[in-house]
């Protein structure tokens, strides 16, 4: 591993961006610039085609944030030629937009108070990020795809790997920060057709590592194939409340939907999250601990500072069953009179900052999976994340999971039910947590939206945990 290199492009633009800030300072009380250079390569092999393309979240651009008359506005662009002309364009465009909005009451926001910070951050990355052996990576993915396709009834198996190199520069009157890191993503899907039915399953992993992460997927295929075959002809689960053991993937989805979205504090500003009124309340069983943070783990949503120049934190959201903290971007923090937690993130330089999750997970305890299964009279082990939806206003939760494996008298019966919709009331679900496993596993192969847009890369996870919840 080596230290990630800072983007030469950003370093080259830095003097012009500083000049831009200096010019705009004449008209605005606060000016900052976030510059992004995100690059990477995605490799994909399935039984029909091969591709090598730029990583889909790649971008290079800038966003200026300014403050005037008690409010903030922003201008996104991706070309710098003449700085004076650019400054004039920004000033003219934002002033014209202010004119259109003139007369509308403003949500007064205090001027951001920044501390002086001049720092450079670099994560450890594999050397191959700068000189990848594309042929070797594709060959490894081909082997994985071929292995997956060799099982009976598989109509296609695709293996993919992406490496993402992120570099971001944040400049304001007081801050001069640059960061760089690299992340790897891999996944493998198996598609089977049998008795007129099609079913799908996948495995994957992510982390601050290199293409060796692909190697770990070979060993997962046997079980993934078995799970896939079990889904054929599997009945729907009879609706009801059951004792449920959640796999780390399912645990992560619950963490994300429950007190991930539920404690995003820009929702507190809008009075859209009931958690605001319950800080300090006991809402989970005493063995429940939950965290969010770009700091503390090395996953796909780890960074050194967020898109507003706030240093990354590790925030404990639930401590021994008590809701102790939310997560917050800088503007929402200013409005709420609290400290930001480094959770101000943008989908891209073209979009607004919202409070967003980073790496969200339950903490571990001492129970083994075997102990949990033995403790269940009748219930299910649920696994495989499909999708989820939050309801921070009412603490409703919906998690769509791939399968539920039946447990009877402390043993897995081998019977599987699909699909599985887990619904319930978040405090009930968390208060019903009676056993928590030992090993925290995070996966960051997904994007998270705010409502139905603003997609950012997140990771989530945790250990196996046992609770009681409604399945249908």
């Amino acid at each position: 591993m080596i230290k990630a290199k800072q983007s030469e492009y950003l370093l080259q633009c830095k003097p012009q961006l500083k000049q831009l800030i200096d010019i705009l300072k004449n008209d605005f009380e606060y000016v900052s610039v976030l510059a992004t250079d995100v690059t990477g390569t995605s490799y994909s092999v399935n039984q029909k085609t091969t591709s090598v393309n730029q990583f889909s979240d790649s971008e290079r651009g800038f966003v200026v944030r300014v403050y005037k008359n008690g409010g903030y506005s922003e201008y996104s662009f991706n070309k710098i030629e003449d700085v004076n002309r650019l400054a004039e364009e920004i000033r003219t465009a934002l002033n014209a937009q202010s004119e259109v909005l003139n007369g509308i009451r403003k949500l007064r926001t205090p001027l951001l108070e920044e501390e002086e910070v001049t720092r450079e951050f670099a994560g450890d990355v594999s050397e191959e990020f700068y000189d990848p052996d594309n042929e070797a990576i594709l060959a490894k993915l081909k082997r994985l795809s071929d292995k997956g396709a060799s099982y009976p009834d598989i109509v296609n198996c695709g293996a993919s790997y992406s490496m993402q190199l992120v570099s971001k520069l944040f400049l304001s009157e007081k801050k001069d920060m640059i960061q760089s890191w690299g992340v790897s993503f891999t996944s493998c899907f198996m598609l089977a057709f049998k008795d007129g039915q099609t079913q799908f399953n996948h495995v994957g992993a992510t982390g601050w590592c290199g293409s060796e992460i692909i190697d770990e997927q070979f060993a997962k295929l046997d079980e993934a194939y078995k799970d896939l075959m079990d889904m054929f002809g599997a009945p729907n689960i009879p609706p009801g409340e059951y004792e449920v053991i959640c796999s780390p993937e399912a645990t992560g989805l619950i963490a994300h939907e429950a007190f991930g979205h539920g404690v995003e504090m820009d929702m507190f500003v809008k009075n859209r999250a009931i958690a605001r009124e319950h800080m300090g309340d006991k809402l989970a069983s005493t063995i429940t601990n939950m965290y969010d943070g770009a700091d503390g783990v090395k996953q796909t949503a780890s960074y050194f500072f967020d898109d507003e120049g706030t240093l990354a934190h590790k925030t404990q959201i639930i401590k021994d069953g008590y809701l102790v903290s939310g997560i917050c971007d800088a503007l929402s923090a200013a409005r709420l009179g609290v400290q930001p937690t480094g959770n101000g993130r943008r989908e891209s330089f073209e979009r607004k900052v919202y409070t967003r999750m980073t790496n969200t997970y339950f903490g571990s305890q001492a129970n083994t999976l075997e102990e949990m299964i033995k403790s269940v009279d009748y219930g299910f082990l649920v696994d495989g994340m499909d999708s989820g939806m939050e309801d921070p206003k009412h603490w409703g939760i919906q998690c769509v999971l791939s399968r539920a494996k039946e447990i009877k008298d402390g043993k897995l019966t081998g019977k599987v039910f699909v699909p599985v919709v887990l619904t319930g009331y978040v405090p009930d679900l968390l208060s019903n947590i009676s056993m928590v496993g030992t090993d925290v596993v995070l996966n960051g192969n997904g994007h998270c939206g705010k409502g139905y847009k603003e997609w950012v890369i997140v990771s989530d996870g945790g250990p196996y945990l046992k609770t009681k919840v409604r399945l249908g």
Binding site: K48, K106, L138, L191, G240, Q398
Partner: protein, 427 residues
């Protein structure tokens, strides 16, 4: 920039290339209640280059492609390095040969959308949404966007046009004593009369009021369900997913043209057509980014799959003469009126928390955010609980309403009637 890139590509001995230049100007405003949170402008140009490289192994012809964004202000040296890198990667991706779109020429005089005026109109309309005593605007976001496209390739494609769209995301609260609920609504459209937008928001006010009265959904077995919400468009996207050339080529869909997905007679037969242009749709692009002309195309007729649609590469692999993008779609109305459907006892679902449609397995459903349970005499607003169904069985016994509605880029029946549905709910 584009001319410089084309010149370098012509010197670089690539087999084929395609460039898509997109300039987006976006005006955005964010509100908490009716107070301005912040406002934004985005003015960006993205240029995406795709390079094809052909090769031959044992007499078999292969074609690979690789693509990346070309950044604004790149020097000739950087552009040459990008092209060489793409050539190298395209040669690694040895795929069956296909042809890119040829000789499409289209030039549209740039339409003046007057983005500032459109933005001002939407802001004014939203500012005029009045709270009632119990229903209140919580927050909303406005996006007004203009897109300019220039698509060229090495086989004579040269297409230029511009489009626009608007988007509103709004959250409504309703209060009943100490109980406060919210409903979320996101709507995309283009050039739509502003009174239609605000009328839609007033309808959400009504639903929000009902949700404050909603009781937990009870567990029910084998009930009739009416789906009457905006998720009906996701329901019908199942047929688009099943006929997409990528899905078929890669094995996600096993659908063959001529297959009948509704052999039962006890149902309304599905007919779904792609339409290249639909008034007020945000998706009216005359050409795809590959240079394929948007076509009117019947995808399913009376339950029988008629045509695939999709991208140029997989369309070529499936032996189609032309690829067709799916901008807009229209589902034909059914045989029953909504009033006829609302007989006896049934659960009508207006909004799911998140409607799931898995086109691979055909499973669909989700948690109920707002529904109405009719027991034949009384109507009870309900919330919570969920339904899980499968398309293969649902299509055997399904009815569609005669009434249809437009939801951005599609026209779909207002109500879908499903039978024998199990509802997970309070016991």
């Amino acid at each position: 920039m584009l001319e410089r890139l084309v010149k370098l590509l012509n010197e670089a001995e690539v087999s084929d290339y395609r460039i898509v230049e997109t300039t987006t100007v976006s005006h955005q405003a964010y509100f908490v209640k009716q107070a301005l949170d912040q406002h934004r402008i985005s003015n960006v140009t993205h240029l995406t280059l795709e390079v094809n490289m052909d090769s031959e192994v044992n007499g078999q012809k292969f074609r690979g492609k690789a693509s990346r964004e070309i950044y604004q202000g790149e020097s000739d040296e950087q552009l040459k390095a990008d092209i060489e890198n793409l050539k190298f990667n395209a040669l690694l991706a040895k795929n069956p040969y296909y042809e890119i779109v040829k000789d499409e020429k289209y030039y549209e005089e740039k339409k003046d959308y007057n983005l500032t005026a459109v933005f001002e109109n939407v802001v004014k309309a939203m500012q005029n949404v009045k709270n009632t005593e119990t229903e209140k605007v919580n927050s909303y976001e406005i996006f007004v966007n203009e897109y300019y496209y220039h698509i060229v390739n090495s086989q004579g494609v040269d297409i230029t046009f511009n489009t626009m769209d608007e988007e509103i995301e709004i959250v409504i609260n309703s209060i009943d004593g100490d109980h406060e609920i919210e409903l979320y609504h996101n709507e995309k459209f283009a050039d739509k009369p502003i009174e239609e937008i605000t009328a839609g928001i007033q309808k959400i006010f009504e639903y929000a009021k009902d949700r404050t009265q909603a009781k937990p959904t009870k567990k029910m077995m084998g009930v009739t369900v009416l789906m009457s919400g905006e998720d009906n468009r996701s329901f019908f996207r199942y047929f688009l997913a099943k006929t997409n050339t990528q899905s078929v080529f890669f094995g996600n869909s096993q659908v063959k043209i001529g297959d009948n997905c509704q052999e039962s007679e006890d149902c309304d037969k599905i007919t779904l057509k792609l339409v290249s242009h639909l008034p007020h749709s945000s998706r009216n692009m005359p050409y795809s980014k590959e240079g394929s002309k948007a076509l009117d195309l019947t995808v399913v007729e009376n339950g029988i799959y008629q045509n695939y649609w999709g991208d140029q590469t997989t369309a070529y692999y499936l032996g189609l003469e032309k690829a067709s993008p799916a901008n807009n779609y229209v589902v034909e109305s059914g045989s029953r009126t909504v009033a006829e459907m609302k007989q006896g006892s049934y659960l009508e679902i207006i909004q799911f928390s998140s409607f799931i449609m898995d086109p691979v397995s055909g499973d669909f459903g989700g948690e109920i955010r707002l529904g109405y349970y009719h027991d034949g005499q009384t109507v009870t607003p309900v919330t919570g609980g969920s339904i899980t169904c499968n398309m293969n069985s649902a299509l055997k016994h399904i009815y569609l309403s005669q009434e249809t509605r437009q939801l951005d880029n599609c026209i779909v029946p207002c109500t879908i009637q499903l039978f024998d549905v199990n509802v997970a709910g309070e016991e």
